[in-house]
Symmetry: C2
Subunit: 254 residues, 2 copies
């Protein structure tokens, strides 16, 4: 069954506009989405009439409208995970003074659903709503480690192990070993695999059935989040918070 072409085009436009928070002009946008200016103009006019897009009259740039924010107002706030985890993650961030994230899996990627910033001036740049690959993030490895085998196999088969940094794992065999390691040790590390210099340690959040439904992480530059700090402090702390958050979601295991 085919899709509705003009709707597909419009959603492609919205996706592209999300890359340009300061807006983009019609001719350039037309090039990027492969539509004639007439068609693009008509689609933008419709999006604008419903506040999905706004046009800056001074610069002729189009950008996303606040209706997108309005749509998203209930997307996370009804989520048990965000609500229950937040106070714990705030406390954790305060204790370690690093940025803490909460992530779930969506369509084979991790998506950031909460973020607690530290007070450090050098910190991980991230956005609620942003997505990242699973194969080179600590939270991604945690989420994969709790996945049902069929889905796990299907996803890993679809991964392109593109090197992001010199330390990215790009061998499927090595990656599968890493996931076994994560399963046995109960936490995962991102050894600057996704972004240079940036270390992360992640742990699982279980639901009442013992299923991994989310993951949270501590992130910081590798001069602060060192292997020593990880081994002496962070592993124990992540285990403690993993259990505390999971308990509040009805988890009864150990």
């Amino acid at each position: 069954m085919s899709n509705v072409q003009s709707l597909e085009r419009a959603l492609t436009i919205l996706n592209k506009l999300s890359e340009y928070p300061d807006g983009i002009q019609i001719t350039r946008l037309s090039e990027q989405v492969g539509l004639t200016k007439g068609t693009l103009h008509r689609l933008l006019a419709t999006l604008a009439s419903m506040n999905y897009v706004v046009k800056d009259e001074e610069t002729d740039k189009y950008k996303l409208g606040l209706q997108v924010l309005f749509l998203s107002r209930n997307l996370l706030n009804n989520s048990n995970i965000v609500t229950i985890a937040k106070p714990f993650l705030e406390k954790l961030s305060q204790e370690v003074n690093e940025t803490v994230h909460l992530c779930i899996e969506d369509r084979g990627e991790v998506i950031y659903i909460d973020k607690i910033e530290s007070t450090q001036t050098i910190r991980m740049y991230s956005r609620i709503g942003s997505r990242a690959p699973m194969y080179c993030t600590a939270v991604g490895k945690i989420l994969l480690s709790g996945m049902e085998q069929n889905k796990f196999d299907e996803l890993v088969s679809s991964f392109e192990f593109i090197p992001k940094t010199p330390t990215t794992i790009i061998s499927k065999e090595e990656f599968l070993q890493e996931i076994e390691r994560v399963k046995s040790q109960g936490y995962a590390l991102d050894n600057a695999e996704n972004e240079a210099v940036l270390m992360c340690i992640a742990a699982p959040i279980y639901d009442h059935k013992g299923k991994i439904i989310a993951s949270f992480s501590i992130s910081g530059p590798n001069n602060r989040v060192t292997i020593d700090v990880i081994n002496s402090t962070l592993i124990e702390k992540m285990n403690q918070y993993s259990l505390a958050i999971s308990r509040n979601l009805g988890y009864t295991g150990s």
Copy 2:
């Protein structure tokens, strides 16, 4: 010039779905948006293929997908207002232990662009992205008070002064007097006008040109946020924070 019909329909579907965080079934949604099930199904399939909508296979309910969150990731984070105001609003919330909001005007309504929760168990229920009327909210009155006369007249003319509570101002004349009062005193009150029991006090945030670009507020139930507390403590505090935040946005006035 007319809009693109199928796109308009799809955006209407997205708007309606945002009211059902737990999802809605096709037949019911078809009734609500006035589309045949065939047309609706085709549009939903397209939305789903691009992750704007997901279908819960167990309940046959459709709901918004996380692509909406992905779109919104840059909507506020690039905003100077949110970034600069946040540490001040966190401090304010901590000092008064009530919920604090940051709002802007968008298309004749206020929209919540940040929220700092207090630790109280009884607190205002609100969502980033949510919208509220301008005529019965403290932040709305602040934003109106700084508006250019033409736009002000146009907006106020369009208001329907629907009573939300027994204390809602529903007379246009009385409302105009209220706005004059806000201008002279430099803060606005919502005397449980939008929601019963809920008191709010709001103050302006100025940009470098002295224009009111946002408003922030303290909200709490009227047994905690009393007229005494407002007069003895909150007015002075709001003035102080209004100036502090505005200074950081380049404001040089008094």
